[in-house]
């Protein structure tokens, strides 16, 4: 089976966010594989190990993403592809990313594409469904279980805490929710092997795309931090008095009750 994983390199949101000149400062920050994409990678490897085939992990970004691609290879993906748009695209959005990914995938005859349900930095959750629609294949988002039998698939989807059992067929795109699996850590032999696995780089030209074809439809005009919260009030005194005071504060000061 021809399996693809869409992987985003993300800013680790455990990091403190600092804004310089209207941009989030990335100097020295920690970057990781988007956590939901780890579930997607793990699932892809498990499906391949069961039914055979090959897993290719694809990212749109710049050279910095090679580190995360190598990690995906070390986990067990067979091939990695970096679509480097840094020199061609100045402003991008989810439309851009999806268009680039779909253009790359369209002649690769994918049977199964896995993505994360949302990137923890950009946070839109658009890229998966957009890619599926551009490729003309069905999709199921926020999945917690995937069973493949021939070209049929049974999927469990998390819907705000409830579960839907969905039947569909391949080719298919799914997006991973927490609970799908437990992503493995790269093993030492895995890391050694990953160094020899193919990591290809392509650019917009190779995809027969111009800048105009992928021009962003939306634009960020400002980035800001939420107003600093004043230190909260830790109540003092007898517990019963604290509780009374809290209720009064919620009514008269915070006015939420």
């Amino acid at each position: 089976m021809n399996i693809f994983v869409l992987m985003k390199r993300t800013f680790d949101t455990e990091e403190k966010i600092v804004i310089n000149n209207g941009k989030v400062n990335e100097e020295g920050a920690e970057f990781i594989i988007n956590p939901y994409d780890e579930y997607a990678i793990e699932e892809a490897i498990q499906v391949r190990d069961k039914v055979g085939g090959e897993v290719t992990v694809v990212t749109v970004g710049n050279e910095d993403a090679e580190k995360e691609l190598r990690t995906a290879l070390a986990m067990g993906c067979d091939k990695a592809v970096l679509i480097n748009i840094e020199d061609d695209v100045e402003e991008s959005d989810q439309f851009t990313t999806a268009k680039v990914l779909a253009e790359y995938l369209k002649d690769k005859e994918p049977h199964l594409i896995l993505a994360g349900n949302v990137a923890i930095d950009g946070g839109s959750g658009q890229v998966g469904p957009r890619v599926a629609e551009l490729l003309g294949i069905p999709y199921v988002t926020t999945i917690t279980k995937l069973d493949i039998d021939g070209d049929k698939a049974t999927v469990v989807r998390d819907v705000e805490g409830d579960e839907e059992v969905i039947e569909t067929s391949l080719p298919l795109l799914v997006t991973a929710q927490q609970g799908l699996n437990e992503p493995r850590y790269p093993s030492l032999p895995g890391i050694m092997k990953a160094k020899k696995k193919p990591l290809d780089e392509v650019e917009l030209d190779d995809l027969d795309l111009d800048e105009d074809d992928v021009e962003a439809k939306t634009k960020t005009v400002e980035i800001f931090l939420p107003p600093k919260k004043e230190a909260g009030k830790i109540l003092q005194g007898e517990l019963t008095d604290q509780v009374k005071e809290l209720v009064t504060l919620l009514r008269t000061e915070a006015k939420v009750i």
């Binding site: 949101t13 980035i223 800001f224 939420p226």
Partner: protein, 325 residues
């Protein structure tokens, strides 16, 4: 510039979702005096049309079909495309719900349009509409504009206030018949795990429990407090992992993102991944026996103490308040 804007209404447990009313308010801001058309999609949904008008919709378009009973991207995609072709809107607003998140990127792609997801505020500046949305899991915000063409957004529940209900308002309700076919995904079964009643993502008050709750039974006092306040119960992943409650209650980076008016965290340490799901709540109360717990750093009010003492006392106090008012 006035715009014609459509907003999608969603029904849950037989009632309109609150976020659907908030979507009408958002549509009104984008419309700048233009017409706002609410869209009802489902099997038997027309009865909700008047409520949408009372909350500000100028007209309602109803699309009913047996194949629209359960949501599927193909079925709803076909319904919405038919509405868009008939109405030719300049703006579209969905709620940032499971359905809205799933369908909006598909529809935007079909319409070759941009999409601003998870909007928490809308403003107009020099004729341009600016949308504020959280990024980096709520640690920062961005303001976005659409580079011309269709304005398509999803709005996060509980952030853009709905217009108050005015039953004197009138508006036309029409039906659009659509042929729904070739569904590529079929919903075989829906397994209900969440409680009936207040939905976590739309609750005005959330009482959340963490590992400090210690057992499934330990959630009972939290439920009682939530009931008195008309709120919902949530949880940290610590509590879910320990098996004290279902994962459907999890709040945080890998769970639900909530912005209630009041969030009461009980026995939750305040890990960064938990904060990602609730730090934008309007008022946060922390109850924890460890004065050094990180949750106190984001709390507006804190009580250092045993939650099994504090929570029942709070419930009693709120009950008294109810009797008096």
């Amino acid at each position: 510039m006035t715009r014609k804007v459509i907003s999608l209404a969603e029904i849950r447990d037989g009632s309109l979702r609150n976020v659907s009313l908030e979507a009408i308010a958002a549509a009104k801001t984008i419309a700048q005096g233009g017409e706002v058309v609410a869209v009802l999609v489902g099997e038997n949904v027309q009865s909700h049309a008047n409520e949408l008008i009372a909350h500000g919709a100028d007209r309602v378009v109803v699309v009913e079909h047996a194949q629209l009973k359960a949501y599927t991207p193909d079925g709803y995609g076909q319904a919405l495309m038919a509405v868009v072709e008939a109405e030719k809107p300049e703006g579209i607003v969905f709620g940032h719900t499971a359905l809205g998140k799933d369908l909006s990127p598909k529809l935007a792609t079909k319409l070759n349009a941009g999409l601003v997801s998870d909007v928490v505020a809308i403003e107009e500046k020099d004729g341009e509409v600016l949308f504020t949305r959280p990024i980096y899991s709520g640690k920062a915000f961005e303001k976005k504009v659409v580079n011309g063409g269709l304005i398509f957004i999803t709005v996060r529940p509980n952030n853009i206030p709905a217009l108050s209900r005015d039953d004197a308002r009138t508006g036309e309700v029409t039906t659009l018949s659509v042929d729904i076919k070739d569904l590529r995904t079929i919903v075989k079964e829906i397994v209900r795990k969440t409680a009936e009643g207040v939905d976590l993502s739309e609750a005005k008050v959330i009482v959340a429990g963490g590992r400090g709750v210690k057992s499934e039974d330990g959630f009972k006092p939290l439920q009682e407090l939530a009931d008195v306040l008309g709120g919902a119960v949530g949880a940290s992943r610590g509590a879910c992992d320990a098996g004290y409650c279902d994962y459907s209650l999890q709040i945080g980076q890998t769970g639900k993102v909530v912005t209630p008016d009041l969030y009461i965290a009980c026995g939750i340490s305040g890990a960064i991944q938990h904060l990602a799901g609730m730090s934008n709540s309007k008022v946060i109360v922390a109850i924890n026996k460890d004065p050094e717990a990180n949750i106190f750093k984001v709390a507006d009010y804190g009580i250092v103490g045993d939650l099994f003492e504090v929570v029942p006392l709070l419930t009693e106090e709120f009950k008294k308040l109810k009797v008096h008012s």
